[in-house]
Symmetry: C2
Subunit: 115 residues, 2 copies
């Protein structure tokens, strides 16, 4: 049984409280979810283009994530591909400081050999 789409107000994986932020953390803490939102914020894209942009992410997972995000009304499919809804756009706006943070992180991270 696949994990169901988290929604505010009901228990999610790791929290029975129903607190909205817990649902958000469950939803966003699934592989590719943050990345998909990020990509759609750069520009709308169809299924296959999204797959290309994320370096050939698995189609089965992409399909699952698109379903969850659509259920959650963060994205919607239009004639020109998937686009963020107003709600989804707000979420990415809320995440925008992440980009500038990541540069600070990079600046403070020793770029030596990996690991």
């Amino acid at each position: 049984m696949p994990a169901r789409t988290p929604r505010p107000g009901v228990p999610v994986r790791g929290s029975a409280s129903g607190r909205p932020v817990m649902a958000a953390l469950d939803l966003l803490g699934r592989r590719w979810t943050l990345r998909i939102l990020w990509e759609l914020h750069q520009a709308p894209a169809g299924f296959r283009e999204l797959q290309r942009r994320c370096e050939r992410m698995s189609s089965s997972v992409l399909s699952a994530r698109l379903g969850e995000l659509t259920d959650s009304r963060l994205i919607a499919l239009h004639a020109d591909g998937y686009r963020l809804t107003a709600l989804g756009g707000d979420l990415v706006d809320a995440l925008r400081p992440l980009d500038s943070w990541s540069h600070r992180w990079a600046a403070e991270t020793d770029p030596g050999p990996s690991r």
Copy 2:
């Protein structure tokens, strides 16, 4: 082979670009990572308390995440438990708007039967 800790400047899962934000999205898009940061922002906690707060999350995964976050210098272990570093605190600050967004999301989400 376990996935290695993402770091800015080197390729990560789904992106060979080395762009810092891609490393951040890979790191944060792993189960429990966002939640752990969130919890530590509420208050520092030791291993077992963290496990309790996240409703008995698997100890093996908790251990892996703590290792990744420590490697990434977002958290550090002190006498009173794990705490966010300055860098980690900045990240959670960057994520703070997520909480208010989640309330808007809840307000616009029909609280009917799940799925």
